[in-house]
Subunit: 236 residues, 6 copies
């Protein structure tokens, strides 16, 4: 139960990571069987960012951001820092100076199950953060945690090297070993959606495209004209 | 207690609907006696949209968006879909493909007492959604609900054909039968506010414009100079 | 325990107030020893505003905005109105007309531990509001409160004349008597951060800049290679 | 849109009401097709109460309990007062004195989508209250509302005379016209559950009682021995 | 801005404190003009306790309970410890051992705007705690705060020596200098309520006792028979 | 990514499990280095229960309790079912009939990151449940999940066979492989606390027992007499 920093963690391949970013959170989440999604309270500090990267994890004591400083050294280009305190808090564990530190190492984003601050500076820098809160309240550097151990962040399990995908819809985790398979599934899904999209834009109904009418009828759905409904000539 | 889809529901008149959109949520809500407002957790996925339309309602099983697919067929130009699950959840019941389906029918917006996803695509499409949450978590299509029956959405009762007004301040429901009267009241309110606005910009005080001083004094409000207050020469 | 309006309250000096605005909330909060921060649920109605001003306070009955009308008359250029109901509510206590009234007196912002409405009009006017909620629900004018007495707003104590600093990170209160000292401390902090920022951008680590390595080792932090960790050759 | 008190509202029959109380909230909610349930934040001030009664409704201005006083006069033996403000608040709209007033009229409970106070006195009196909050914060008597009009309370629509069922599981509304049918369905459900209960206590599995195994297999559920799973000899 | 422990703070008189306890939170809060109430999320760990005492305050760093240990030494018989962290958290800052320490000094309760733990042991000991949460998550002892300085606890300002009244309805603060006046007002209120209670139990209506009928009619309240209302023979 | 039920999972030893129950959640959580604690929103349906058992896990689709039925068959005496939906909801996934089923297999408790119902029946049965909510809202049986795979429940990772400890303070997870070591550490902690408790009851201060005074002074804590403080004769 000691506090450790695990070094030289393997990462998912860059091309796979970038492919997952292009697919976006909703598609990736579906493609991997609806697992790995963080809670919906994780929101970006500015709209429009869409990124993916390999997780460098930081497990932090409550209201103590020391392990983010330690994590910086473990980061390399294309990483995303995933930081979670061991009990909930909305303090600002992260700000513009740490953002500079991560940008200097070409880190792509921060995902933090707590608060962040300096959001307008971070927005100007173009460094995206997904967080639970925005707060100017600082933290201390007194109690050890660990870096690059498995953490739970906003309800999702994250291991170092896993792929993090984040956009306006939230944050999703793809296990490193499954990233390639998930990317293939996500791309297949996108192709299928392209076809559906074209049909919907042309005015077809999803009831027909997905063939839902028979099953709806089987389950007992009934159509009633408003005139009958309003007159009470229906049991509904 | 069967599951039904009510067809051919009457709608409020287009001109009245568009008039209510121009007035906006706060004015309409006041004009109809402060009723029909949805809870303040209903937020737009992007700022700046202001719309009104006639409600097509969907009552859905928890975490099940099947009835939105059924509702699409009941929509016509100028409608707004109002969707509510029978128990709370923040799943993403709606995304870009359903947005395409609604746009193809010239539907103006979605109001959903649950989550939505694909928010950046929906923003690009210019299809506004007011929701309780943003979440990539999908739903299933297994359990029937009903379409175009009365629903409660975010604390407000909505009947099919009612006018929904939505902007950055939230979402308000105007009963179809009352829409014309409410529009007249809203416009009267706007005119009165135009006058008040001009006087306020010219530096008059609302204390004087609304004639509040006598009533404040009657109720016992006292003015105390800071010097007296700080010296304890007042009972306040 | 009567209801009073305190007039002619002293304010902090304009130059100090403007200096604090330039420093921003996070820096000012740190500089004064991490006190005076409002709860993180206080959010701006639009991003990018950064202001400071002298507090004119309004203590209001629940769902009753009468005292804001009374407060307007006590405002002068450079002030910020700080309004708090005596029990929580998300009603829209404030809207565009009151915004016009405050702009006419060159008030810089409203801080309200409740809801606001007309947010898109206020955004167009460039009048910033930090609030707990956005809601079109109006309030009444029936029950007295007080103006320019000490209030608690979103968890922070505010006395009339105190300096309020607000930006995208939230809202912080600086006691009037401490404003000059806090400004000096904030500026000193900024200078130090300029140096740190330059070193971080050049790739130095905060572990080295702040000299943290020895203390981390003392507390027992251990570095473990992933290969050893994965093979279980570590106690961590 | 005037403020009214509707008098002499019809009620559901006493025997049906009492029958529904005996069934309890969960059974009644299921028996009527899973509708009419209030949000789960509605909690009893003490455990163990189970009641049913006919709704006398009060629609109240925010933080204003005047209409509860008006509602008392409309109550008769066997009623339950259902009170909802037009916008959310946790103030204590109700206390022991109003409890005495309702007890004097043999009212059975209060359901309030807001706060209550004097909870320990009310507990001693044996007058059950289901509320959103407990708060000593009082309210005013300044703004009219209405009594015995349809209200929405904690997300459920309530008409005067509807049956309210409340116990430790929450609060459910049964429409007056449906009460007899719902009672019959609830009793049928109880009988069926008696049989299921006996079989479960005897050690039978619900998988067998409900015949679920085939459908689970059809959907693709697979059983894997831990030894194979741990060794990775499975795709799961 | 240093960290201090203020010693030998004056307290309110014991007889006044005990008198306020007997009146309870709701009565005391009303009697002092509806001020000083903590937020309604402050709940007792067990029902039925009603206490009053003189505040010994602890301002604590987030997730750090060191100052409670320091505060113990400042306590004397009849005190109540009021502890608040400088930013929100639900960690268990307090447990059974600290409860023993406070009991040894005849302290009457703890009020904490954070979490507590060992609640079943504290219940057995009969040491009441009002808290925001129950959590087994411990805290650290690393960062200084202050003892017996003014704090804000759950939205209420507390100075050392102020009277804290707490029961099932929540927690209220009475300023030390006002305690005697408030007690007199609370007792007067109780007497008046005794009379009202007797009349209500005898079946009189508060509409008559408080003489509300004329004012209701003035404001426009109308009574409508259900038969007319249902037939639409009313404008309501 | 198929749906599986893992059978014959190893469990922690019964004697160790029972030893951990005796220690309770707060002690066990501390003894294992402050990890494994579920979020503080997990509350028991009745006070006073303290249990431990081996986890049988159920990963469920949102608002769908099918996998609890499947999990029952995998339970044996001394187990605790840990059930978590893949996205948040407060529906009542569990009730008295399933309680009977688990009691028939001598299961000790249910831990569910969602709602439960029939709480008064479950209380009478003495079957303890820790849940996020109480709700009569039922669920469906339509979508597969998995049983005895790793889950995240209320923010804590749980593997089948892990030890779950639950009492009034919440719920804590001890990894199966670490259970013996944690029990030893917990018992050591209890012994140490026995000594501390005796000293505290005798009136010693934790400042002295833990030797905190020197470190407090080092960090700069100062003691100031109230008379000096009130007179401003201190910098604090």
């Amino acid at each position: 139960m000691s506090n450790i920093v695990v070094t030289n963690c393997p990462r998912a391949e860059r091309a796979i990571v970038d492919g997952l970013a292009a697919c976006g959170v909703a598609t990736v989440h579906e493609a991997q069987g609806r697992k790995g999604l963080m809670q919906s309270y994780m929101r970006p500090i500015y709209p429009g960012a869409r990124v993916a990267g390999c997780a460098v994890t930081a497990s932090m004591a409550p209201a103590d951001n020391w392990m983010i400083h330690v994590a910086v050294e473990q980061c390399q280009e294309g990483d995303i820092v995933v930081a979670a305190p061991t009990s909930p808090g909305d303090q600002g564990f992260f700000g513009e100076l740490l953002g500079q530190a991560l940008l200097a190492r070409r880190v792509r984003a921060l995902i933090i199950d707590a608060g962040t601050r300096d959001t307008s500076d971070l927005t100007k820098l173009g460094f995206p953060v997904w967080s639970k809160a925005v707060s100017a309240q600082g933290t201390v550097k007194e109690t050890l945690g660990s870096v690059n151990v498995p953490v739970i962040c906003a309800g999702a399990a994250v291991a170092p090297g896993d792929v993090i995908v984040a956009d306006d819809d939230g944050v999703c985790v793809v296990k490193r070993e499954e990233a390639e398979v998930v990317l293939a599934a996500a791309r297949a899904r996108e192709e299928k959606e392209d076809d559906t999209r074209a049909r919907l834009k042309a005015g077809e109904l999803s009831l027909d495209i997905y063939g839902m009418r028979a099953r709806l009828a089987d389950k007992g759905l009934k159509y009633v004209d408003y005139a009958d409904y309003a007159a009470g000539r229906t049991e509904g």
